[in-house]
Symmetry: C2
């Protein structure tokens, strides 16, 4: 699966992400779309999935898999920081 | 599985939830623990899981399943509101 099908949820308006997912499935004919997020945007990614799955693409898509992970990195003060990540794959029914 | 093994993540201090999960597996000898959250606390629930899985219970527990869902209800202004939910089951290795 190419990265073109990946949507990274951040601080843009909520409906941008929903439209992005819907367009991948409809206009671009994707069979799978990956929705990714980090840290506090994980909740938002779940909202995007739920709105797509239960409203805009109701009965048309389902969750194929959900992966949780975390990354560690040094912040600007040299302190080790951990951030959680989520990757949800939606598939065509 | 009884509800005693369920931990609902909200606005208490972060380590309360981590300790809660760790205690279920260690002191109480649970084979599975469910971590649940709604709305903005979903990100936090994922953080709890990641800290348990990669630090405090490293190599001892793994994710058995992850379920996303959403609930609709009327808020105090009579408006229909949707909130996302997550349910993550951790199991003993």
């Amino acid at each position: 699966m190419s990265n073109d099908n990946a949507i990274f949820v951040g601080e843009k308006p909520f409906m941008n992400y929903v439209t992005g997912v819907v367009m991948q499935f409809t206009t671009k004919g994707a069979s799978e779309v990956i929705v990714k997020a980090r840290g506090k945007f994980i909740s938002r990614a779940v909202d995007v999935i739920e709105v797509c799955r239960k409203r805009f693409l109701e009965g048309k898509v389902d969750i194929k898999s959900i992966n949780l992970d975390s990354e560690e990195f040094e912040n600007k003060d040299g302190k080790l920081v951990r951030v959680s990540t989520i990757e949800i794959i939606l598939k065509n029914n």
